[in-house]
């Protein structure tokens, strides 16, 4: 049971196009090590939401952007200490309120019942809603003329991700070949 170390960085273990592109660039740098077995024994899962670093980064970026936006929209003070406190408050409200709000919505709609493996997952819709909310916040920031830089950063990140998706699509055959090679490194036994 010897998996190859590089299999860990297979693009198909990442969700966002930008992360997949970074993984591909990393693999290109380390490709000479492709036949080296991992130290010890390991088995990797090829799921697009597998990488912890990506999940935590996206989570932190989303919460930071939303909290900073809310701080910009609600802060009347020019005192940096009060603004920092407001930001911390917004982070806490977001982190605590989002799960509770989602639980409340699911209870209200009685939508939490799991109906079987073929039941349609709404995770893509939910993901889309989260990014639409962030996008609308960016638009409000631009209209309100407060912290436009924040909106510009957010929109730039989205443009970078879209461009990454385009590059990946152009090199789709090569990406697929790399993924297939790394997938074969996973032992079945």
């Amino acid at each position: 049971m010897q998996s190859r170390k590089l299999a860990r960085w297979s693009p198909e273990r990442f969700h966002l196009a930008f992360s997949r592109l970074v993984a591909l660039a990393w693999l290109r740098l380390k490709w000479a090590e492709r036949n080296q077995p991992a130290f010890g024994s390991a088995s990797f899962s090829f799921d697009r939401e597998q990488m912890a670093i990506e999940a935590y980064t996206v989570s932190v970026v989303w919460v930071t952007f939303m909290a900073a936006s809310l701080t910009c929209l609600t802060s009347q003070s020019t005192n940096p200490l009060l603004t920092a406190l407001n930001f911390i408050l917004q982070v806490l409200v977001l982190v605590v309120a989002t799960p509770l709000l989602m639980a409340l919505v699911s209870i209200t709609l009685r939508a939490w019942r799991y109906t079987g493996p073929d039941s349609a997952s709404t995770s893509r819709i939910q993901s889309f809603v989260f990014f639409v909310v962030a996008g609308m916040t960016a638009v409000v920031l631009i209209i309100e003329n407060s912290c436009r830089w924040l909106a510009v950063i957010w929109l730039t990140l989205n443009v970078i991700n879209a461009l990454s998706a385009l590059i990946l699509w152009l090199f789709r055959n090569r990406v697929r070949a790399v993924e297939e090679f790394l997938r074969q490194c996973l032992p079945e036994d």
Partner: protein, 306 residues
């Protein structure tokens, strides 16, 4: 919809939270998960007073001399890890998505897979024991019967039974005081199957053996050792430890036997138990932040003999 029904449903061990978790696993985007875990673990940590105090009491016995703040932090970490592991189990059962794995003591894993007779996999309520057993049956190509404690809430128990993954030679039995489970397990081992049992937590009414864990008197289930004695099967200690987000380690330890060496059956039991206790203490001390025993392990009642 009576008050009693609502109380049972929304109790910390009630079925509602399982349903909500399954819903979240299927529906929520992946980047919401990290802070969902932190928040829900905190809510349960604050609400489930009895479980929290039991975990704190256990941690104080495992790490004596720990400060009050440190022990509370460690107790929260137990709840936080429990949230992650139950979510990972739910994801595996509902979507079939597996995790990253690595092995500690892989030579014992190979030994267990290759053994041509039945065997006992002795584990603890640590990390993702449920997922570990299920994956083992898939990867190892062996039929495995997992014995677990039933849920205290009947509706939750019914829900868990409906959702259990019965594919790929994976079976589940529940340790209950009035069941004929022992006979079934002897047959399973005689049929060259593997039986996975948790040897660290008691179900009220089942037979026990008195022992000492972290220098405190405790009662352990005697079932695994009685089964080993009756069948001659080897006992393989195994712990499934969470190492990070969707990443686990299978910790295997050397196998041992519980064999009849003379007329004194109790002495054979004690020897096997002390082997298990030394392995259990080592693992629990190293991974106390994911030892999911939500009752005090130090015993106050006398042992139950059967």
């Amino acid at each position: 919809m009576s008050f009693e029904w609502l109380k049972r449903r929304f109790h910390v061990r009630g079925v509602f939270w399982r349903e909500l978790q399954d819903w979240a696993v299927i529906n929520l985007p992946f980047f919401i998960e990290p802070f969902q875990m932190a928040v829900w673990a905190l809510i349960f940590f604050l609400v489930a007073r009895r479980e929290r105090m039991a975990v704190i009491q256990n941690l104080r016995m495992i790490h004596p001399g720990t400060s009050r703040i440190a022990v509370w932090f460690r107790a929260y970490r137990v709840f936080w890890n429990f949230s992650w592991t139950t979510t990972d189990t739910a994801r595996f059962k509902l979507t079939g998505k597996t995790m990253d794995w690595d092995f500690d003591g892989i030579e014992y894993f190979h030994q267990l897979v290759a053994i041509r007779t039945g065997a006992i996999m002795l584990t603890a309520h640590m990390g993702n024991y449920d997922l570990g057993a299920s994956l083992f049956s898939q990867k190892g190509g062996r039929t495995i019967t997992v014995i677990r404690a039933p849920e205290s809430d009947p509706e939750t128990q019914q829900y868990v039974e409906q959702k259990v993954d019965l594919t790929g030679g994976f079976r589940v039995g529940y340790s209950q005081s009035d069941s004929m489970l022992g006979i079934d397990l002897v047959h399973a081992i005689q049929n060259q199957e593997i039986v996975a049992i948790q040897g660290d937590r008691l179900v009220p009414g089942i037979s026990t053996i008195e022992s000492s864990l972290f220098s405190h008197r405790t009662l352990l289930p005697s079932g695994p050792f009685a089964l080993a004695l009756a069948t001659g099967a080897a006992i393989f200690p195994l712990f499934v430890v969470r190492m990070g987000r969707r990443r686990y380690r299978l910790v295997h330890r050397p196998p041992f036997y519980c064999k009849r060496t003379g007329p004194d059956r109790a002495r054979d039991f004690r020897e096997a138990t002390s082997r298990w206790i030394s392995v259990l203490e080592e693992s629990v001390e190293a991974y106390s932040y994911q030892w999911f025993v939500f009752e005090p392990f130090a015993a106050t009642e006398p042992p139950v003999a059967k």
